[in-house]
Symmetry: C2
Subunit: 513 residues, 2 copies
């Protein structure tokens, strides 16, 4: 059976189920942006930062640790390699990237209706990534398990505001570290049909991920298309390590996408100013993306950015503050000028619980990312406590925001129906529009309906138990999990995946690193 016919069959059944579960208009695989990008800096200012980033690459250089292949490739390409330090002639990284990196790419899902385009005027919203803990109102904070992982895959599958199943939506701490990736990849395939991310914690785990997706999509399809987008963090400042480079290499060799992400807490891992931090981000991202293009020209790369500011009092990371927003606006503009897709978070916050702090901080980051022009928004939903905790209630609150942002990106309908002159003529001064024929015709889809906001009167809200938003979200995720039905998965694929996992897991001992 060819990968195409296999995918077609699975997709057909899934589409039917999805149609039953969701309203037709919710079935968008990704967002097509219809509003302009918000630009904070003008071209001259962006050129200054680009110039400074080239100065960093030329004078200071980037360390590529314990990974001779990167040194060899850069040396061959014309860089100055001194030990593990690589210095780049001005413009070299940019030229390498612009010569071959695609400005956008399709990440195929096993359900073709869920395939996403990453880049250009599209936005793809992805759940949070990497938390060792989970939290809910009933059980509080605890280590995440595989069942939690599956739950977040299920919730993401059911959330029209999220387009992508993500990667390590939480760490399944009950599974040995060196075998978790099998269960994570399998769970994304089994419990969802949205696209997902691969393992990056070791090159061999990246290879296992590739082997597993080949069982789903077929060998040839994977080598010629992109079915994974995986997260490669730089070790800021100005360093890439062997683990990340190894995983990036495996994915690039198989034409799979990587998000090359400077990950920094400004003030500790970058200068204590916005412009200095943006300069470093650009330099690091350029070097990392150039490496990927040298491994396999044309392999999709995404310009990643994760920037928080440290508290200068305690050294703790802070979120939702203005400086990371300014960094994000600038970084998004630099990615557009470079011509590659852009990634940033998301619903970031330092709060331990889904309270007002969490919401202000998350909303500030979500608004900024979306307005700046994020293509791949990691950490859209669930993030708490600087990423240490994935919150069930927080997840629900955030996916509600994700749906709000999708409508914002859709802009203003200027059709004659949108202009509504007939309604204004029909109603006139002093009357109300509720019964107008234009209102009747449009009210069903007129305004966004929050899944979690309470807009009732104080008295009614009090009568219903004076619930805060987190308590309402608690009821929602439980009800969603009760209603969950998995997307169909071809039994032969399921069996092949299980067989592969069992065999591979038996080939080496459990390990906690």
């Amino acid at each position: 059976m060819s990968s195409r016919s296999r995918r077609g069959k699975v997709g057909g059944r899934q589409a039917k189920r999805a149609a039953r579960q969701q309203r037709p208009a919710d079935l968008v695989a990704f967002i097509e942006r219809k509003i302009p990008y918000v630009e904070i800096l003008d071209a001259e200012a962006l050129e200054l930062i680009e110039h400074n980033a080239e100065t960093v690459l030329e004078e200071i250089g980037i360390d590529f640790k314990d990974f001779p292949r990167a040194l060899d490739l850069f040396r061959e390409a014309g860089a100055d390699v001194d030990g593990e330090r690589v210095r780049f002639p001005r413009g070299m990284c940019r030229q390498i990237i612009q010569a071959s990196a695609p400005s956008e790419y399709t990440q195929h899902a096993r359900n073709p209706a869920r395939s996403v385009i990453i880049g250009g005027d599209r936005s793809v919203f992805v759940p949070a990534y990497g938390s060792p803990f989970v939290r809910d109102l009933d059980r509080g904070r605890r280590y995440a398990t595989l069942e939690d992982f599956r739950n977040f895959v299920r919730l993401t599958y059911m959330s029209p505001g999220l387009h992508h199943s993500g990667g390590t939506v939480c760490e399944p701490v009950d599974i040995p570290v060196n075998k978790r990736h099998f269960d994570m990849v399998y769970s994304h395939i089994k419990y969802s049909d949205k696209p997902f991310m691969g393992s990056v914690t070791a090159p061999e785990r990246a290879q296992d991920t590739i082997d597993m997706v080949k069982l789903v999509f077929g060998d040839a399809f994977v080598e010629e298309n992109t079915v994974l987008t995986s997260l490669i963090n730089a070790n800021s400042p100005m360093t890439y390590d062997a683990t990340m480079l190894g995983a990036a290499t495996v994915y690039a060799e198989h034409n799979q996408a990587t998000v090359i992400s400077p990950f920094l807490l400004a003030g500790a891992m970058s200068p204590v100013t916005v412009a200095g931090t943006v300069t470093q981000i650009l330099a690091e991202a350029l070097a990392g993306m150039a490496y990927v293009q040298l491994v396999r020209p044309g392999a999709p790369v995404v310009f990643g950015t994760f920037a928080a500011a440290v508290s200068m009092q305690s050294g703790a990371p802070t979120f939702g503050t203005p400086e990371p927003s300014l960094i994000l606006y600038a970084a998004a503009a630099l990615a557009r000028r470079l011509g590659v897709p852009f990634r940033s978070g998301g619903g970031l916050c330092a709060s331990k619980i889904p309270d007002a702090q969490a919401a202000y901080e998350s909303a500030n980051t979500l608004q900024t990312a979306v307005l700046a022009g994020v293509n791949f928004m990691l950490h859209t939903a669930g993030w708490l406590e600087g990423g240490l905790t994935m919150g069930y209630e927080k997840f629900i609150l955030d996916v509600d925001q994700a749906s709000i942002l999708a409508i914002l990106l859709g802009g203003i309908d200027l059709s004659p129906n949108g202009q509504a002159l007939d309604a204004l003529r029909e109603v006139g001064p002093g009357a109300h529009f509720l019964g107008a024929s234009h209102t009747q015709k449009n009210f069903e889809r007129a305004f966004y309906r929050s899944i979690v906001a309470d807009n009732n009167s104080f008295e009614q809200w009090e009568q219903e138990g004076s619930l805060d938003a987190a308590k309402r979200a608690n009821a929602i995720w439980k009800s969603m999990l009760e209603d969950y039905a998995p997307p169909p998965l071809d039994a032969a694929i399921d069996e092949a995946l299980t067989e592969f996992m069992d065999r591979r897991k038996s080939e080496f001992a459990d390990r906690d690193y």
Copy 2:
């Protein structure tokens, strides 16, 4: 004593006290915007809405109820007056406004260091307005009193994120309706030195406000300058009533500023689409502002917008949703094209308590207003429950956001120090920036420090009682009120104001309307 020397003396003492209370950099009277405006619509789209608004004014018209003076003025200016319905030749209102309305104006505070410029690239943040209830964690929801009113004036005075003392920060329900305005105006003068708003609930109350500010600033100063900015709501759709027109007339005659605000719940008081609602807002604002210019050419007017969407399920107002954000972006752009200052909210929300719903909704509206280009942001802080309740904790949470937004509007420092190339050179790959000389030189003012966010570790947060943001805000407002010291007020002025109030209050009986 001339008004100028009187104001100079008071200002001098206050400046000294303020300098003791606040860090020097916090002492900004208003925000100078250094980032571009966020434009959602292009010129062609904005022209279409302007064209449609002129169609509304020409074909449908605006009702001016029970207020013959408006009908007379518009008739003389060339409008078609049919009963109380006024229809305007295309472009007439726009021409009247553009002929005389200032694009910006100074609203003088009794402390000259607190005077604000409203319009152009400035933003002035103002507390919430009009709630009959207040809420705090200790006492819950209850009717507001004059002491609550004074408390919010005090808290606003002490909040560097707010530039203006506002107007009816809450309704002092313990004072008869027809005498409240004396106590409100007096409290703004007595307990703060920031600029404030006047009474609009009856023309004679507007006149009392004028009489009181003349006791502070002097007669001549008031007639030639603007010391009040007051809120005139339209009775949407397409109607102005005698109360609001009466107050607007009094203020305009004395050269005092008015915010002409279509106040509407889209779907009920305007069409159920964004473009239709924006069209109506523009038509209503044009007619209202033109009226003010006919009363006194040159009297400052602000283009106001308050738009929420009604829930099409329950009819309740909703906040923080995408459609009102789109409305706000469009309205701000239309105000800029017209050439007058723009007002919008603010930290709007439907939530009854300062929970995650309140924060998401407020942040969405705050971000939008600021990015769109708000000049006078009413309802910046304290708003709960669709404006029915002023929240003590919510106020603290919101003023923290106001400070964040001020920094965002300041843009990116591209000075050599901001570029931080020296820091990048000093630290280099793999090291950290905490000890770098650039960091040491800049860390004190490097990143925004939230007054209410908890960025500590989970363990430390737990040890300190697992407080949510609202509980921390509770401690903050109490501590602020304990630390409060009033700005000095010339004893002669204080006496004159008290005498005036006592006399006027004795001239008529208490009334509950």
